[in-house]
Amino acid sequence: MAEYYGVTVEDIFNTMEERFRPDKAEGIDMTIGYDIAGEGGGKWTITVKDQTCSVKKGLASKCTVVMRMAAQNFVGLNLGKIDAVSIFTAGKVKIEGDMEAAGTSAKLFKRFKAEGAEEAEELIRLKCVPSIDQRFATGPIMGRFFAGLKERKFYANKCPKCGRVQIPPREICADCRVRCTEFVELGPKGNLLLLDICYYASPDPLTGEVRETPYAVAVVLLEGEGPVEKRESFTHFIKSSDIERANFGDKIRPVWAKECTGGFDDLLYFEIED
Protein backbone atom coordinates (compact mmCIF):
# COMPACT_ATOMS: atom_id res chain seq x y z
CA MET A 1 0.00 0.00 0.00
CA ALA A 2 1.36 3.37 -1.01
CA GLU A 3 2.44 5.57 1.86
CA TYR A 4 2.59 9.35 1.87
CA TYR A 5 4.43 11.01 4.75
CA GLY A 6 4.54 7.46 6.19
CA VAL A 7 0.74 7.11 6.22
CA THR A 8 -1.69 5.42 3.83
CA VAL A 9 -5.04 6.76 2.66
CA GLU A 10 -6.67 3.75 4.36
CA ASP A 11 -5.03 4.63 7.70
CA ILE A 12 -6.88 7.94 7.59
CA PHE A 13 -10.29 6.45 6.78
CA ASN A 14 -9.88 3.50 9.17
CA THR A 15 -9.40 5.86 12.11
CA MET A 16 -12.10 8.35 11.17
CA GLU A 17 -14.85 6.83 13.32
CA GLU A 18 -12.65 6.93 16.43
CA ARG A 19 -11.45 10.47 15.63
CA PHE A 20 -15.02 11.68 15.22
CA ARG A 21 -16.07 14.48 17.63
CA PRO A 22 -19.79 14.12 18.44
CA ASP A 23 -19.69 17.42 20.37
CA LYS A 24 -18.97 19.27 17.12
CA ALA A 25 -21.66 17.44 15.13
CA GLU A 26 -24.81 18.64 16.84
CA GLY A 27 -27.58 19.13 14.28
CA ILE A 28 -25.33 18.07 11.40
CA ASP A 29 -26.71 15.66 8.84
CA MET A 30 -24.45 15.15 5.85
CA THR A 31 -22.93 12.56 3.56
CA ILE A 32 -19.40 13.30 2.45
CA GLY A 33 -17.96 11.47 -0.53
CA TYR A 34 -14.23 11.15 -1.16
CA ASP A 35 -12.77 10.24 -4.53
CA ILE A 36 -9.05 9.81 -3.96
CA ALA A 37 -6.95 9.38 -7.10
CA GLY A 38 -3.57 7.73 -7.47
CA GLU A 39 -1.80 4.83 -5.78
CA GLY A 40 -3.52 3.81 -2.55
CA GLY A 41 -6.58 5.86 -3.48
CA GLY A 42 -10.20 4.82 -3.84
CA LYS A 43 -13.68 5.92 -2.97
CA TRP A 44 -15.17 6.34 0.50
CA THR A 45 -18.35 7.76 1.97
CA ILE A 46 -18.70 9.24 5.44
CA THR A 47 -22.17 9.66 6.88
CA VAL A 48 -22.67 12.01 9.81
CA LYS A 49 -26.08 11.91 11.43
CA ASP A 50 -27.49 12.19 14.97
CA GLN A 51 -23.97 12.89 16.29
CA THR A 52 -22.65 9.57 14.99
CA CYS A 53 -20.29 8.83 12.15
CA SER A 54 -19.96 5.85 9.84
CA VAL A 55 -17.38 5.20 7.13
CA LYS A 56 -18.08 2.97 4.14
CA LYS A 57 -16.10 2.05 1.03
CA GLY A 58 -17.47 3.29 -2.27
CA LEU A 59 -19.33 6.45 -3.18
CA ALA A 60 -22.96 6.82 -2.05
CA SER A 61 -25.33 7.86 -4.83
CA LYS A 62 -26.52 10.93 -2.95
CA CYS A 63 -23.77 12.92 -1.26
CA THR A 64 -24.03 16.38 0.29
CA VAL A 65 -20.58 17.02 -1.08
CA VAL A 66 -17.95 15.05 -2.99
CA MET A 67 -14.28 15.96 -2.77
CA ARG A 68 -11.81 14.76 -5.36
CA MET A 69 -8.05 14.98 -4.90
CA ALA A 70 -4.80 13.06 -5.27
CA ALA A 71 -3.87 10.54 -2.55
CA GLN A 72 -0.75 12.46 -1.56
CA ASN A 73 -2.73 15.69 -1.11
CA PHE A 74 -5.41 13.91 0.90
CA VAL A 75 -2.89 12.48 3.35
CA GLY A 76 -0.98 15.77 3.46
CA LEU A 77 -4.16 17.68 4.32
CA ASN A 78 -5.10 15.27 7.09
CA LEU A 79 -1.64 15.42 8.63
CA GLY A 80 -1.59 19.20 8.41
CA LYS A 81 1.39 19.08 6.02
CA ILE A 82 -0.55 20.93 3.31
CA ASP A 83 -2.50 24.13 3.76
CA ALA A 84 -6.17 23.64 2.82
CA VAL A 85 -6.69 27.11 1.39
CA SER A 86 -3.59 27.05 -0.83
CA ILE A 87 -4.35 23.64 -2.24
CA PHE A 88 -7.94 24.61 -2.96
CA THR A 89 -7.03 27.87 -4.69
CA ALA A 90 -4.42 26.00 -6.72
CA GLY A 91 -7.31 23.88 -8.05
CA LYS A 92 -5.94 20.64 -6.63
CA VAL A 93 -9.10 19.82 -4.68
CA LYS A 94 -12.33 19.59 -6.64
CA ILE A 95 -15.46 20.09 -4.58
CA GLU A 96 -18.83 19.09 -6.00
CA GLY A 97 -21.93 20.02 -4.08
CA ASP A 98 -22.24 22.00 -0.88
CA MET A 99 -19.01 24.00 -0.40
CA GLU A 100 -19.99 24.91 3.14
CA ALA A 101 -20.36 21.24 4.06
CA ALA A 102 -16.80 20.65 2.83
CA GLY A 103 -15.58 23.29 5.26
CA THR A 104 -17.66 21.94 8.13
CA SER A 105 -16.41 18.38 7.63
CA ALA A 106 -12.87 19.39 8.64
CA LYS A 107 -14.03 20.39 12.14
CA LEU A 108 -15.78 17.08 12.83
CA PHE A 109 -12.62 15.04 13.35
CA LYS A 110 -9.58 15.15 15.58
CA ARG A 111 -6.33 15.47 13.70
CA PHE A 112 -4.90 12.12 12.53
CA LYS A 113 -1.91 11.10 14.60
CA ALA A 114 0.45 8.44 13.31
CA GLU A 115 1.42 5.75 15.82
CA GLY A 116 4.35 6.83 17.98
CA ALA A 117 4.34 10.35 16.53
CA GLU A 118 5.01 13.14 18.99
CA GLU A 119 2.50 15.90 19.56
CA ALA A 120 3.51 18.69 17.21
CA GLU A 121 4.56 21.95 18.84
CA GLU A 122 2.35 24.91 18.10
CA LEU A 123 3.91 27.38 15.71
CA ILE A 124 2.57 30.83 15.04
CA ARG A 125 1.96 32.04 11.54
CA LEU A 126 0.18 35.27 10.82
CA LYS A 127 -1.55 35.98 7.56
CA CYS A 128 -2.72 39.40 6.59
CA VAL A 129 -3.42 41.42 3.47
CA PRO A 130 -2.43 45.02 4.13
CA SER A 131 -4.08 47.37 1.66
CA ILE A 132 -2.20 50.46 0.64
CA ASP A 133 -3.91 53.42 -1.01
CA GLN A 134 -2.23 54.54 -4.19
CA ARG A 135 -2.47 57.77 -6.18
CA PHE A 136 -0.97 58.10 -9.60
CA ALA A 137 -0.71 61.53 -11.23
CA THR A 138 -0.76 60.87 -14.94
CA GLY A 139 0.90 64.04 -16.20
CA PRO A 140 -0.11 65.44 -19.61
CA ILE A 141 1.27 62.62 -21.77
CA MET A 142 0.15 59.46 -19.94
CA GLY A 143 -3.08 61.36 -19.20
CA ARG A 144 -3.70 61.64 -22.93
CA PHE A 145 -3.27 57.87 -23.22
CA PHE A 146 -5.82 57.23 -20.44
CA ALA A 147 -8.24 59.79 -21.90
CA GLY A 148 -7.95 57.80 -25.16
CA LEU A 149 -8.86 54.54 -23.40
CA LYS A 150 -12.09 56.22 -22.28
CA GLU A 151 -12.98 56.65 -25.98
CA ARG A 152 -11.68 53.10 -26.64
CA LYS A 153 -8.75 54.42 -28.64
CA PHE A 154 -5.00 53.87 -28.35
CA TYR A 155 -2.94 57.05 -28.44
CA ALA A 156 0.79 56.88 -29.01
CA ASN A 157 3.23 59.73 -29.53
CA LYS A 158 5.78 60.24 -32.24
CA CYS A 159 9.35 61.46 -31.96
CA PRO A 160 9.90 64.58 -34.11
CA LYS A 161 13.52 63.56 -34.71
CA CYS A 162 13.55 59.81 -35.45
CA GLY A 163 9.84 59.26 -36.17
CA ARG A 164 9.55 56.38 -33.69
CA VAL A 165 6.03 55.84 -32.29
CA GLN A 166 5.86 55.13 -28.56
CA ILE A 167 3.00 53.36 -26.77
CA PRO A 168 2.21 54.05 -24.00
CA PRO A 169 3.34 57.58 -24.90
CA ARG A 170 6.21 59.14 -22.96
CA GLU A 171 7.33 62.71 -22.38
CA ILE A 172 10.49 62.31 -24.41
CA CYS A 173 11.77 59.90 -27.04
CA ALA A 174 13.66 57.12 -25.30
CA ASP A 175 16.29 57.14 -28.05
CA CYS A 176 16.67 60.82 -29.00
CA ARG A 177 15.70 62.40 -25.67
CA VAL A 178 13.66 65.15 -27.28
CA ARG A 179 10.08 66.12 -26.36
CA CYS A 180 7.39 64.25 -28.29
CA THR A 181 4.25 66.36 -28.70
CA GLU A 182 2.63 64.79 -31.77
CA PHE A 183 0.01 62.14 -30.96
CA VAL A 184 -1.04 59.42 -33.38
CA GLU A 185 -3.78 56.84 -33.05
CA LEU A 186 -2.88 53.13 -33.23
CA GLY A 187 -5.03 50.01 -33.61
CA PRO A 188 -7.43 49.19 -32.22
CA LYS A 189 -6.57 45.87 -33.90
CA GLY A 190 -3.14 44.40 -34.23
CA ASN A 191 -1.02 41.26 -34.47
CA LEU A 192 0.29 39.00 -31.76
CA LEU A 193 4.07 39.00 -31.43
CA LEU A 194 4.58 36.80 -28.39
CA LEU A 195 2.96 35.39 -25.28
CA ASP A 196 4.35 35.21 -21.80
CA ILE A 197 2.40 32.45 -20.07
CA CYS A 198 2.32 32.44 -16.28
CA TYR A 199 1.55 29.25 -14.35
CA TYR A 200 2.37 30.66 -10.91
CA ALA A 201 -0.77 31.63 -9.00
CA SER A 202 0.47 35.10 -8.12
CA PRO A 203 -1.87 37.48 -6.32
CA ASP A 204 -3.47 40.33 -8.20
CA PRO A 205 -1.75 43.35 -6.59
CA LEU A 206 -4.94 45.39 -6.73
CA THR A 207 -7.14 42.96 -4.83
CA GLY A 208 -4.78 40.51 -3.14
CA GLU A 209 -6.80 37.66 -4.61
CA VAL A 210 -5.02 34.76 -6.23
CA ARG A 211 -5.26 34.91 -10.02
CA GLU A 212 -6.53 32.01 -12.06
CA THR A 213 -3.74 30.24 -13.87
CA PRO A 214 -2.48 30.05 -16.47
CA TYR A 215 -2.80 33.64 -17.54
CA ALA A 216 -0.79 35.24 -20.30
CA VAL A 217 0.63 38.59 -21.17
CA ALA A 218 0.55 39.27 -24.90
CA VAL A 219 2.98 41.52 -26.72
CA VAL A 220 1.07 42.95 -29.68
CA LEU A 221 1.90 45.21 -32.59
CA LEU A 222 -1.04 47.56 -33.08
CA GLU A 223 -1.95 48.69 -36.58
CA GLY A 224 -0.64 52.06 -37.63
CA GLU A 225 0.96 54.07 -40.37
CA GLY A 226 4.66 54.11 -41.12
CA PRO A 227 7.31 51.40 -40.96
CA VAL A 228 6.90 48.56 -38.47
CA GLU A 229 10.39 49.01 -37.04
CA LYS A 230 9.45 52.56 -36.01
CA ARG A 231 6.44 51.40 -33.99
CA GLU A 232 6.64 50.11 -30.44
CA SER A 233 4.79 46.99 -29.42
CA PHE A 234 2.20 47.14 -26.65
CA THR A 235 1.72 44.73 -23.76
CA HIS A 236 -1.52 43.59 -22.16
CA PHE A 237 -3.38 40.42 -21.15
CA ILE A 238 -4.80 37.98 -23.67
CA LYS A 239 -8.09 36.14 -23.09
CA SER A 240 -7.39 32.97 -21.07
CA SER A 241 -9.27 30.68 -23.46
CA ASP A 242 -7.12 31.95 -26.37
CA ILE A 243 -3.80 30.97 -24.78
CA GLU A 244 -3.79 27.39 -26.13
CA ARG A 245 -4.55 28.32 -29.75
CA ALA A 246 -2.50 31.49 -30.06
CA ASN A 247 0.16 31.71 -32.78
CA PHE A 248 2.70 34.27 -33.85
CA GLY A 249 1.10 36.89 -36.10
CA ASP A 250 -2.50 36.13 -35.12
CA LYS A 251 -4.93 38.98 -35.68
CA ILE A 252 -6.12 40.29 -32.31
CA ARG A 253 -8.64 42.87 -31.15
CA PRO A 254 -9.17 44.61 -27.81
CA VAL A 255 -12.02 43.74 -25.46
CA TRP A 256 -13.13 46.75 -23.44
CA ALA A 257 -14.88 47.12 -20.10
CA LYS A 258 -18.60 47.82 -20.25
CA GLU A 259 -17.98 51.31 -18.97
CA CYS A 260 -14.68 52.99 -19.74
CA THR A 261 -13.63 55.58 -17.19
CA GLY A 262 -10.17 56.54 -18.41
CA GLY A 263 -8.23 54.08 -16.25
CA PHE A 264 -5.89 51.21 -16.89
CA ASP A 265 -8.68 48.67 -16.32
CA ASP A 266 -10.72 50.00 -19.28
CA LEU A 267 -8.94 47.53 -21.52
CA LEU A 268 -9.77 44.05 -20.24
CA TYR A 269 -7.63 41.97 -22.60
CA PHE A 270 -6.99 41.18 -26.25
CA GLU A 271 -8.68 38.29 -28.02
CA ILE A 272 -7.93 36.45 -31.25
CA GLU A 273 -10.11 37.59 -34.15
CA ASP A 274 -11.53 34.62 -36.04
Partner: protein, 154 residues
Protein backbone atom coordinates in the same frame (compact mmCIF):
# COMPACT_ATOMS: atom_id res chain seq x y z
CA UNK B 1 14.36 82.06 -17.87
CA UNK B 2 11.26 81.69 -19.97
CA UNK B 3 8.54 79.66 -18.28
CA UNK B 4 7.08 76.86 -20.32
CA UNK B 5 3.29 76.68 -19.99
CA UNK B 6 2.36 73.03 -19.79
CA UNK B 7 -0.91 71.85 -21.37
CA UNK B 8 -2.75 70.35 -18.40
CA UNK B 9 -5.97 69.34 -20.16
CA UNK B 10 -5.07 65.67 -19.84
CA UNK B 11 -3.55 65.73 -16.35
CA UNK B 12 -5.53 63.76 -13.82
CA UNK B 13 -5.09 61.48 -10.85
CA UNK B 14 -5.78 57.77 -10.81
CA UNK B 15 -6.87 56.39 -7.46
CA UNK B 16 -5.96 52.81 -6.70
CA UNK B 17 -5.24 50.29 -4.02
CA UNK B 18 -2.49 47.81 -3.63
CA UNK B 19 -3.09 44.64 -1.65
CA UNK B 20 -0.06 42.76 -0.41
CA UNK B 21 -0.83 39.23 0.79
CA UNK B 22 1.61 38.66 3.56
CA UNK B 23 2.61 35.83 5.82
CA UNK B 24 4.77 36.16 8.89
CA UNK B 25 6.21 33.08 10.54
CA UNK B 26 7.20 33.69 14.15
CA UNK B 27 9.61 30.75 14.14
CA UNK B 28 9.98 28.18 16.94
CA UNK B 29 11.45 30.62 19.44
CA UNK B 30 9.07 33.46 18.55
CA UNK B 31 6.06 31.12 18.70
CA UNK B 32 6.95 29.98 22.22
CA UNK B 33 7.34 33.61 23.29
CA UNK B 34 3.91 34.64 21.93
CA UNK B 35 2.14 31.49 23.17
CA UNK B 36 3.45 32.20 26.68
CA UNK B 37 2.12 35.79 26.49
CA UNK B 38 -1.20 34.48 25.23
CA UNK B 39 -1.82 31.48 27.51
CA UNK B 40 0.22 32.13 30.67
CA UNK B 41 0.52 35.94 30.67
CA UNK B 42 4.25 35.48 31.22
CA UNK B 43 7.12 37.15 29.41
CA UNK B 44 9.90 34.75 28.44
CA UNK B 45 13.45 35.48 27.47
CA UNK B 46 16.56 33.41 26.79
CA UNK B 47 19.83 33.52 28.68
CA UNK B 48 23.33 33.14 27.35
CA UNK B 49 25.23 31.42 30.16
CA UNK B 50 28.59 32.25 28.59
CA UNK B 51 27.97 36.00 28.28
CA UNK B 52 25.60 36.09 31.27
CA UNK B 53 23.05 38.10 29.27
CA UNK B 54 19.28 37.74 29.18
CA UNK B 55 17.62 38.59 25.87
CA UNK B 56 14.01 39.73 25.50
CA UNK B 57 12.40 39.07 23.08
CA UNK B 58 14.07 35.66 22.90
CA UNK B 59 16.33 34.74 20.01
CA UNK B 60 17.85 31.49 18.87
CA UNK B 61 21.50 32.54 19.03
CA UNK B 62 23.53 34.87 21.25
CA UNK B 63 24.47 37.97 19.26
CA UNK B 64 27.86 38.13 20.99
CA UNK B 65 29.22 34.58 21.11
CA UNK B 66 26.81 32.84 18.69
CA UNK B 67 25.93 30.15 21.25
CA UNK B 68 22.65 28.45 20.77
CA UNK B 69 20.16 29.77 23.35
CA UNK B 70 16.82 28.18 22.55
CA UNK B 71 16.99 25.72 25.45
CA UNK B 72 17.91 28.32 28.09
CA UNK B 73 14.51 29.86 28.74
CA UNK B 74 14.03 32.26 31.64
CA UNK B 75 10.86 33.81 32.95
CA UNK B 76 10.96 37.56 33.46
CA UNK B 77 9.20 39.98 35.70
CA UNK B 78 6.16 41.80 34.32
CA UNK B 79 7.76 45.01 35.55
CA UNK B 80 10.57 47.09 34.12
CA UNK B 81 11.82 50.58 33.35
CA UNK B 82 11.55 52.87 30.34
CA UNK B 83 15.04 53.27 28.86
CA UNK B 84 13.93 55.53 26.01
CA UNK B 85 10.75 56.57 24.27
CA UNK B 86 9.19 58.44 21.38
CA UNK B 87 5.72 59.84 20.83
CA UNK B 88 3.98 58.84 17.61
CA UNK B 89 2.15 61.88 16.26
CA UNK B 90 0.66 60.61 13.02
CA UNK B 91 -2.20 58.29 12.24
CA UNK B 92 -2.00 55.37 9.89
CA UNK B 93 -4.36 52.47 9.57
CA UNK B 94 -1.50 50.00 10.00
CA UNK B 95 -0.43 51.46 13.35
CA UNK B 96 -1.63 49.81 16.56
CA UNK B 97 -3.01 52.99 18.23
CA UNK B 98 -4.49 56.37 17.40
CA UNK B 99 -2.00 59.24 17.66
CA UNK B 100 -0.62 60.51 19.88
CA UNK B 101 0.69 57.44 21.67
CA UNK B 102 3.90 56.54 23.43
CA UNK B 103 6.25 53.97 22.00
CA UNK B 104 8.89 53.17 24.60
CA UNK B 105 11.90 50.92 24.95
CA UNK B 106 11.34 48.86 28.07
CA UNK B 107 13.94 46.91 29.99
CA UNK B 108 12.25 44.31 32.15
CA UNK B 109 13.66 43.50 35.58
CA UNK B 110 16.10 40.65 35.01
CA UNK B 111 16.64 41.41 31.31
CA UNK B 112 19.74 42.88 29.66
CA UNK B 113 18.01 44.15 26.53
CA UNK B 114 15.17 46.59 25.96
CA UNK B 115 12.32 46.03 23.58
CA UNK B 116 9.78 48.46 22.15
CA UNK B 117 6.16 48.51 23.28
CA UNK B 118 3.23 50.85 23.83
CA UNK B 119 2.89 52.79 27.10
CA UNK B 120 -0.59 53.90 28.15
CA UNK B 121 -2.16 55.53 31.18
CA UNK B 122 0.06 58.62 31.16
CA UNK B 123 0.10 61.83 29.10
CA UNK B 124 2.84 61.80 26.43
CA UNK B 125 4.45 64.93 27.92
CA UNK B 126 4.68 63.32 31.38
CA UNK B 127 6.66 60.22 30.41
CA UNK B 128 10.30 60.09 31.57
CA UNK B 129 13.29 57.84 31.10
CA UNK B 130 13.72 55.60 34.14
CA UNK B 131 9.98 55.47 34.84
CA UNK B 132 8.81 52.15 36.32
CA UNK B 133 6.15 50.37 34.24
CA UNK B 134 4.27 47.07 34.37
CA UNK B 135 2.80 44.86 31.68
CA UNK B 136 -0.94 44.74 30.97
CA UNK B 137 -2.01 41.66 29.01
CA UNK B 138 -4.73 41.62 26.37
CA UNK B 139 -8.09 40.11 27.27
CA UNK B 140 -8.78 39.13 23.71
CA UNK B 141 -5.73 37.47 22.26
CA UNK B 142 -4.62 37.72 18.64
CA UNK B 143 -1.54 35.47 18.49
CA UNK B 144 0.68 38.53 18.16
CA UNK B 145 3.05 40.58 20.32
CA UNK B 146 -0.08 42.59 21.20
CA UNK B 147 -1.21 39.72 23.45
CA UNK B 148 0.93 41.82 25.77
CA UNK B 149 -1.39 44.78 25.22
CA UNK B 150 0.68 47.63 26.67
CA UNK B 151 2.69 48.83 29.66
CA UNK B 152 1.44 51.30 32.22
CA UNK B 153 3.20 53.34 34.93
CA UNK B 154 3.29 51.78 38.41
Amino acid sequence: MATHKEDTRYCFVQEGKMALPNQYFAGRVGSKFIISLRDKKKILGVKCNKCNKVFVPPREYCERCMSRLDENWVELSNEGVITNYTVVHYNDKHLPRKAPYILALIKLDGADTSFPHIVEGIEPNKVTIGMKVKAVFAEETTNTILDLDHFEPM
